[in-house]
């Protein structure tokens, strides 16, 4: 039933297409997941790297600026001490200016501190600045007092204040350095936390990809197994249907042979015999009519000859359908008859040669060989222009060998495979035999068949 079959097919096609799309999407999704994870990891790594560099830069810039401040503060105070200890009046103006310059330098160094300083740093820097301003004021006070000849003891208090201030400035600087260090540690810790986050994200991605891949390969595996199973089932169905077809064609051949046999018998035994009886009666009738009655006698003889020709054509038809010798006398006499019949028709001379052929051969083997030889001889007589043909049939322990050869012009065995030859092959193969055809223009055609020599089953 073709419509149902094609429906089934198109349904299967649609299903296969759907599954293919799902698989494609799943594999694509897995790949996208992996690409996204990879890109994300790369981006995060680059970001972390940038952040780390920034943190380091900040730290070293602050550190450097702080160092500069410290140095300039030290230099300022050194200069200031040297000036105060020397007490050299001649140099006093120039010396004081120099100290003032150093103080300015220290202030400049503070102002040069990186702009990204936070509020704490700014506050501490402002304190340093404040203290330096106070130092400068105190220094100016001292210079003025020295010039006016204020006694040393009274200045001592101012000096002590300045020493304290200096220590305070250094303390703040150290605080800034500590602060800076703490900032660095904090930044490094946050970087480490970021890195941790990236790691766990990556791990999750990898885990997810693995899971998806596993799922996908499981589904794919099941799908392939199912396809394989379907394929196997289809193949078995195909084999079964082929066997059915072969059995059917075998049954057809059997049925045809049986039909021929029964029609042949019917024609031969019923119609032929009735006509025979009719002829006997007509003979009787002609004896009852006086010979002088020429009209009646000629009528009777016309009826008789019509009857005779009917008998002849009935017999020919029966012989063609299934020669009774095959059943009455066996295979070899039937083949010999077939050969003589062709010789009699003047088509070509046929020799039939047989060796040790059992008369108890199973009916299907007998019929197969008979039809094979009949077909081969008819082909030779009709198409090959052969003058002679030879049929040889011999039997050994378990095989029957049949050979039909002619001296005709042959044919191309590969190209010309008419129904006749196909039919021969079919019949021989079905009985477990083999058929070989060899044909060239020089040697004519030889057909060889080998069949099992099965005997008729005991009824």
């Amino acid at each position: 039933m073709p419509p149902e079959g094609s429906n089934h097919d198109s349904l299967a096609n649609i299903q296969a297409g759907k599954v293919r799309r799902i698989l494609f999407l799943a594999f694509g999704g897995l790949l996208a997941l992996m690409v996204v994870a990879g890109l994300d990891a790369l981006r995060s790594l680059r970001q972390l790297d940038g952040m780390e560099r920034q943190v380091n830069q900040r730290y070293s810039a602050h550190n450097q600026a702080l160092t500069t401040i410290l140095i300039s503060v030290h230099v300022y105070h050194d200069q200031m001490e040297r000036y105060l200890i020397q007490g050299d009046a001649s140099l006093s103006n120039a010396g004081a200016a120099d100290v003032k310059n150093r103080g300015d330098e220290a202030e400049v160094a503070i102002e040069k501190f990186p702009a990204d300083a936070d509020a704490e740093e700014r506050a501490m820097l402002a304190q340093i600045q404040q203290k330096i301003l106070e130092q400068e004021n105190s220094f100016a006070l001292l210079v003025m007092a020295q010039a006016q000849g204020v006694p040393e003891e009274r200045l001592q208090i101012v000096l002590e204040q300045m020493m304290l201030r200096r220590a305070y400035i250094l303390q703040i600087s150290r605080n800034i350095a500590l602060w800076n260090e703490r900032k660095l540690v904090e930044a490094t810790e946050s970087l480490a936390a970021n890195f941790q986050g990236l790691q766990s994200r990556l791990a999750a991605m990898v885990g997810l990809s693995l899971l998806a891949g596993l799922l996908l390969s499981l589904i794919g595996g099941f799908y392939i197994l199912r396809l394989e199973k379907q394929g196997r089932v289809r193949y078995q169905e195909l084999v079964a249907s082929r066997q059915q077809l072969e059995a059917l064609s075998a049954r057809l051949v059997d049925a045809q042979e049986e039909e021929r046999r029964s029609i042949s018998r019917e024609l031969h035994d019923e119609v032929g015999q009735t006509l025979g009886a009719l002829l006997v009666d007509i003979g009787q009738l002609s004896k009852l009519v006086p010979p002088e009655d020429t009209f009646l006698q000629s009528q009777i003889s016309r009826i008789k000859s019509a009857g005779e020709s009917a008998v002849k054509s009935i017999r020919d038809m029966a012989l063609l359908l299934r020669p009774p010798m095959l059943d009455d006398l066996g295979l070899v006499p039937a083949l010999e008859w077939q050969g003589r019949e062709i010789s009699r028709r003047g088509e070509m001379e046929v020799d039939v040669h047989s060796e040790h052929v059992s008369e108890q051969l199973a009916d299907d083997i007998r019929v197969c060989i008979y039809r094979l030889v009949q077909e081969a001889l008819n082909n030779a007589a009709r198409h090959s222009g052969a003058k002679h043909a030879k049929v040889s049939i011999r039997q050994n322990a378990d095989k029957i060998h049949v050979e039909v050869s002619d001296d005709g012009k042959g044919f191309e065995t590969e190209r010309v495979r008419g129904m006749g030859i196909l039919g021969m092959e079919e019949r021989v193969k079905r009985l477990g035999g083999t058929l070989l055809i060899h044909s060239t223009p020089a040697t004519g055609t030889t057909i060889r068949a080998e069949l099992p020599s099965r005997r008729v089953e005991a009824a």
Binding site: H268, D269, G272, Q273, T274, G276, A277, L278, L279, V280, D281, I282, G283, Q284, E308, V311, K312, R315, P324, M325, D328, L329, P333, A334, E336, W337, R340, E341, S343, R344, E349
Partner: protein
């Protein structure tokens, strides 16, 4: 006058009754029984012991040739006329081997049956002219094709005489008496004939004689 007792065997009733009418028109024939298949024929012959059995070849259960074989084995004195649709030598030879003395085509039964029954009752062979013609034609064609000469030409006049008598149904003793020879000499002639003609057994010899037109 002793009548010739006949049994008719044919599976076809119309044919049987036609033949019966034909045979019973003869004053010296009497049909003592009819059989419709080979087994019936064998049983009937065993119980009735007729002189002549007129039997169709194509019959159900046991065909005419096999029935003839069984009958000849037990009652070689009963003469059998085979009725057949086939003029081919395969049938003729089988019939002869089964012990039939006459071979009649059904088409010509009406004209030849009376003569056939008379011939076989006298111990002679009888063949339908149509059969003789087919056999002869086949033989001549075969000779022509093989290009060999007719082995009949190899026979001496005395051998031809012996051949003629044998195929007419005479025993070695009869032949010896008729030709005024010893039985031993007849046997020698006989085996020489067989060898020259490359034949095996009386049936083949008879078939050969029919082909050559030595007997009809």
């Amino acid at each position: 006058m002793r009548k010739i007792r006949i049994v008719l065997a044919d599976d076809h009733k119309l044919m049987r009754s036609g033949l019966r009418v034909l045979l019973e028109q003869q004053q010296d024939f009497t049909v003592i029984g009819e059989a419709s298949d080979g087994r019936e024929a064998v049983a009937l012959v065993n119980s009735q012991k007729p002189d002549v059995l007129v039997m169709d070849i194509g019959m159900p259960n046991l065909n005419g040739i096999e029935a003839a074989g069984q009958i000849t084995e037990d009652h070689p004195e009963i003469s059998i006329v085979m009725l057949s649709m086939h003029s081919d030598e395969s049938y003729v030879l089988r019939a002869l081997k089964a012990g039939a003395k006459g071979y009649l085509l059904k088409d010509s039964a009406e004209t030849d049956l009376i003569r056939a029954v008379h011939s076989v009752a006298e111990g002679k062979s009888f063949f339908s002219p149509a059969v003789s013609k087919v056999l002869l034609d086949d033989y001549v064609r075969k000779l022509k094709r093989s290009g060999s000469e007719d082995p009949y030409d190899l026979l001496t006049p005395r051998e031809r005489e012996v051949l003629q008598l044998i195929v007419e149904g005479k025993s070695n003793k009869d032949v010896a008496q008729l030709l005024n020879l010893s039985v031993y000499t007849v046997e020698t002639h006989r085996s020489n004939i067989m060898e020259k003609l490359n034949l095996h057994g009386v049936p083949e010899l008879i078939l050969y004689a029919v082909r050559k037109g030595i007997i009809s």
